[in-house]
C-alpha cells in the first residue's frame, strides 16, 4: 500500500530506509543524465578500472545520448598522441564554441549603429565589470582561431590526410577556413573605429572590383547598403557576423566532423601500407575508449587553452581600439589584419581585379580542390616531393606577400611626415605618438628644440639657438609657419629653453625626436625640430611639432647623392638652399586615457 495514492519516492524510503532510498534516487538520476552510466560506472572509469557491468556502460552515452551521438566510442591508439593531430581539430571546434559564448556576452552591451557603437566600446572598457576582459578574449580568440584553423590545415596537408577517401572532408574544411576568415573580418567593423572603417572600406572596394561591372557594383551596394560605409553597412556586417556566417560555420562544422567520423581519423602515414586505409578497422588491443581517456584529454586541452587566453588577456594583450571612425581621414599606416596582409601585399602589385579578386579567389579555389588534383596514393613524405614543394613554395610566397602588405612596403611618405606622425599619432595597434603618454602635469608648457642635444650644455644650446634663428631670419619664417596652423600669436615667438628637470618624459620624447631626425639626416639635411607646449584652456594642452630642414634632391623618395657621398641640395635661382618646414600638432586633455592617472 502506497503512502500516497500513487507510487512515490516515499514508498522507497518506507521500504529501504532514507539513506539507501536517496542514494538509489541520485544514482538513478545520474544514470539518466549520462544516458547510461551510474555513479559506480563513472567512478570505475575515473579510477582507470575495467567496467564491471555488462554490456559496457561506457558505450551507452554514445548510443543513447545526444551529446556524444556523433563522437566515436573508441579511437585508434596511433592517433591519440600529440602526433599526428596535435589536437588542432578539436581546438578549432572549441574556438567556435568559445567565440560564440564570448560573442553572445558582448552582444549584451552592443548596438550596431554608427552613433552608439564606439560609445558602447568605451563604455564596455570603462564601466562594464569584466567588459575589457570579454572584449579581449573575443578578439584574441578570433586571432587564435584563424591561427589554429590554418595550422590544422597545414597538419592535414603534411600527413596527407586529405587523400582518398577524405577529399570532401578537406573541401568542407576550406569552406570553414573561408567562414573563419570572413567572421574575423566582419567582426573588424563592429567597434566603428578608424581601423574598422578603413579595413572594411578596402574589403568592400575589393568586392566592388568583381567583374563584370554590374555584378561588382551591385555586390558592393548589397554589402555596404549604400555608396559608402555607414549605418546600413554596419548593420549588414553585424548581421553577417552574428547570424549568417555563424550559421554556415555551424552547419559545415557538422558536415566536416560527420565526414571525419564516417572515414575515421586518418592514421600516421607510416602505420599503414601505401594505398591502404585502416582507420575504420581498429584491432581490440589498439582501442582507446572515449570514456574516460579521450574525454579527459579533450577537457584538459580546452582547459589549458582557456587558461592561456585568460592569462594573456589579463597581463599581456588588449584588443586594440582606435579613434572613432572618420570617413574624411585615412590614417597613415592603415594595414589589414595579419592574416589578410598577403592580400594587401598582392593589391600593391597592380590591377585590383586581378590581384584583389581573381588572385585570392584562385588561391582559395586551388586549396579547395587540392585533394582532387593530388590524387597519388602514398601519404609518405618521400613519395610526395612535388606536393610538398608546391606547399612550401605557396607558404613562402604567402609570407613574402604578407611582408609586402606591411605599410613599410611600397607606401611612400616623406621622412618629415613619418616623424611628425611618429610624434603625434593617435593610438593604433596599441602604439601611439611619443608625445601622447607624457603625464599631463609633466607636459610643461614652453618652447623646446632638438638643438639642445647637440653638445653637452642644453641651456646654452637653447639660448644660442634663439640668437641664431633671429640672425639668419628663420625666426620670422618659423613664426609664419606657426601662424598658419593657428597657434595663438602670443606663443608664436616664445624663446626656446632647455627642457626643465621636472619634465623627464618630455625630455625623453624630445630626445627620441632628435634621434629620429639624426637617423634621417640625409633626407632632412641640417634639420632641427621644435616642440611647443601651450595651454590656453584649463585641462587642455596643445603640442606643436615642427621640423625645419634644407631640401635635398629626391628621386621617388630616395636621396640623390653627389660624388662626395653627400646629398645634393635643392638650390634656388640665386644659389641659396631652400628651407622646408613641416608642422603637426595634437591636443592632450588632462583626462585622456593616454597615460595612467
Amino acid at each position: 500500500m502506497s503512502v500516497l495514492p500513487f507510487p512515490s519516492f516515499l514508498d522507497d524510503i518506507k521500504e529501504k530506509g532514507i539513506k539507501k532510498a536517496i542514494f538509489e534516487g541520485v544514482d538513478n538520476i545520474v544514470e539518466r543524465v549520462t544516458a547510461g552510466m551510474n555513479i559506480q560506472d563513472i567512478r570505475e572509469a575515473l579510477r582507470g578500472e575495467t567496467p564491471t557491468r555488462r554490456p559496457n556502460p561506457r558505450l551507452q552515452p554514445h548510443a543513447d545520448g545526444f551529446w556524444l551521438h556523433m563522437r566515436p566510442s573508441f579511437f585508434h591508439k596511433d592517433m591519440t598522441g600529440l602526433y599526428p593531430t596535435l589536437r588542432l581539430g578539436w581546438l578549432s571546434t572549441y574556438m567556435v564554441a568559445f567565440e560564440t559564448i564570448t560573442g553572445m556576452i558582448l552582444m549584451v552591451w552592443y548596438t550596431p549603429s554608427p552613433q552608439v557603437a564606439y560609445g558602447n566600446m568605451v563604455n564596455m572598457l570603462a564601466n562594464v565589470p569584466l567588459g575589457q576582459l570579454m572584449r579581449d578574449l573575443h578578439r584574441l580568440g578570433a586571432e587564435g582561431m584563424v591561427l589554429i584553423v590554418t595550422l590544422h590545415m597545414l597538419r592535414t596537408f603534411f600527413t596527407g590526410s586529405y587523400k582518398k577517401p577524405r577529399q570532401f572532408t578537406w573541401f568542407t574544411g576550406v569552406i570553414l577556413l573561408f567562414a573563419t576568415l570572413f567572421l574575423s573580418f566582419s567582426g573588424y567593423l563592429l567597434p566603428w573605429d578608424q581601423l574598422s572603417l578603413w579595413a572594411v572600406t578596402i574589403g568592400a572596394s575589393m568586392i566592388e572590383a568583381t567583374p563584370p561591372e554590374i555584378v561588382g557594383t551591385n555586390l558592393n551596394l548589397l554589402i555596404r547598403g549604400g555608396p559608402e560605409m555607414g549605418a546600413n553597412g554596419l548593420l549588414r556586417f553585424y548581421l553577417l557576423h552574428v547570424l549568417l556566417v555563424p550559421a554556415v560555420l555551424f552547419i559545415f562544422t557538422g558536415v566536416h566532423y560527420y565526414k571525419v567520423i564516417v572515414h575515421g581519423h586518418s592514421l600516421p602515414p607510416k602505420s599503414e601500407n601505401i594505398g591502404e586505409d585502416t582507420a575504420k578497422r581498429v584491432p581490440l588491443d589498439k582501442r582507446v575508449y572515449f570514456i574516460p581517456d579521450m574525454l579527459t584529454s579533450e577537457v584538459m586541452w580546452i582547459a589549458i587553452s582557456t587558461l592561456v587566453m585568460v592569462v594573456l588577456c589579463i597581463w599581456f594583450y588588449h584588443a586594440p581600439l582606435e579613434n572613432h571612425a572618420d570617413s574624411q581621414i585615412t590614417p597613415i599606416g592603415t594595414t589589414a589584419p595579419w592574416y589578410f596582409l598577403w592580400i594587401q601585399g598582392a593589391l600593391k602589385l597592380g590591377d585590383k581585379v586581378l590581384w584583389g579578386v581573381i588572385f585570392p579567389g584562385v588561391y582559395l579555389a586551388f586549396l579547395a580542390v587540392v585533394p582532387y588534383i593530388d590524387s597519388t596514393k602514398s601519404r609518405r613524405f618521400a613519395d610526395r616531393r612535388v606536393a610538398l614543394t608546391v606547399c612550401f613554395l605557396l607558404m613562402s610566397f604567402t609570407t613574402i606577400l604578407s611582408y609586402m602588405g606591411l605599410s613599410e612596403y611600397g607606401v611612400a611618405a616623406s621622412a618629415d611626415t613619418k616623424i611628425i606622425h611618429e610624434m603625434t599619432k593617435e593610438p593604433a595597434y596599441n602604439k601611439m605618438g611619443l608625445l601622447l603618454p607624457i603625464p599631463f602635469d609633466r607636459l610643461v608648457p614652453g618652447a623646446y628644440t632638438t638643438v639642445q642635444f647637440e653638445g653637452d650644455a642644453p641651456d646654452s644650446a637653447a639660448i644660442n639657438f634663439n640668437a641664431e634663428i633671429e640672425e639668419n631670419g628663420l625666426r620670422a619664417e618659423l613664426t609664419s609657419q606657426l601662424s598658419k596652423v593657428h597657434l595663438a600669436s602670443n606663443y608664436q615667438t616664445l624663446p626656446f629653453v632647455a627642457v626643465p628637470d621636472n619634465a623627464p618624459e618630455l625630455h625623453r620624447a624630445l630626445e627620441e625626436f632628435y634621434e629620429l631626425l639624426e637617423t634621417n639626416h640625409e633626407e632632412l639635411y641640417n634639420a632641427w625640430g621644435v616642440v611647443i607646449v601651450t595651454q590656453n584652456q584649463e585641462g587642455l594642452k596643445r603640442v606643436d611639432v615642427l621640423i625645419s630642414w634644407d631640401e635635398v634632391q629626391l628621386d621617388t623618395g630616395r636621396v640623390i647623392k653627389g660624388e662626395d657621398g653627400l646629398p645634393i641640395l635643392v638650390l634656388d635661382a640665386e644659389g641659396n638652399t631652400t628651407r622646408r618646414w613641416s608642422v603637426g600638432h595634437v591636443f592632450v586633455h588632462e583626462n585622456s586615457a593616454y597615460f595612467e592617472n
Binding site: S205, K348, A413, S414, T556
Partner: protein, 210 residues
Amino acid sequence: MATANPTQARAGAAAQASAVEVSPVSRREFLYYIWGASIALLLGEVGAGIIWFALPRFKEGEFGGTFPFSVSDLPALGDPPVSVPEGRYHVSVVSENGRKALVALYGVCTHLGCLPKWEPVNVRFACPCHGSQYQIDGRYITGPAPRGLDRFPLTITMADGRVLTNGVDGLPIDISDIILDQISSITINTGKKVTGPAHGAEPALSVGKA
C-alpha cells in the same frame, strides 16, 4: 574488342545500356519533375526577391550636391591644393601646358577607396593604404591605382555673366586670362563624377562648355 567505326562503338554502348531495363518516363514521374522544377523556380524567385529587398535605393539628388567655393580660398599657383573634407574633394590650381588652370578632384583613391593625402614635400597625393600616387592635377604617377583621380565638374560664373565650365570632361579650366576679382562664384557639382585620366595621360585643358 577493336572497333573500326566509332558509330558502331556508340551503337554497341547503347545496346549494352538498354540491357538494363529503363522504362520511359511515366506520367507520375514526369509530374514530379515538373513539381521539382517549379520549386527550383520559386526558390530562385525568392533569392532574387531577397536581393531586390536588400539593394539600397537612391532618390534623385540624394547623393552629392552643388558646393560653392569661395574665390578668396583659391590657392595660388604652386601652392598645395585646398581640401574640402565635407565634399571629399580638393581644388587645385595647376600649370597645364603653360596655362594656369583650375580643377576639382574627387579625393577618393581610384584603387580601393582610401583617401590620399597631399604630401607637400614630395608634391603629390599619396595614398596611405596601398601607395598609389597622383600629381596635383590628379594624373596618375605610380602605384596600383587603375587611373588618375576622378574629377567633379566646376562652374565659374563671372561678374559680367560669362560662364566657364568643364562639365563634359572635368579637365582643368584655363583661368590664365581671368582676373580673380571678376569671378562672382565658383561651384563644384559632386553629384556628377567624371572618370579620371588613364595612365600616362598628357596634361590637357578642358574644352569648356557643358
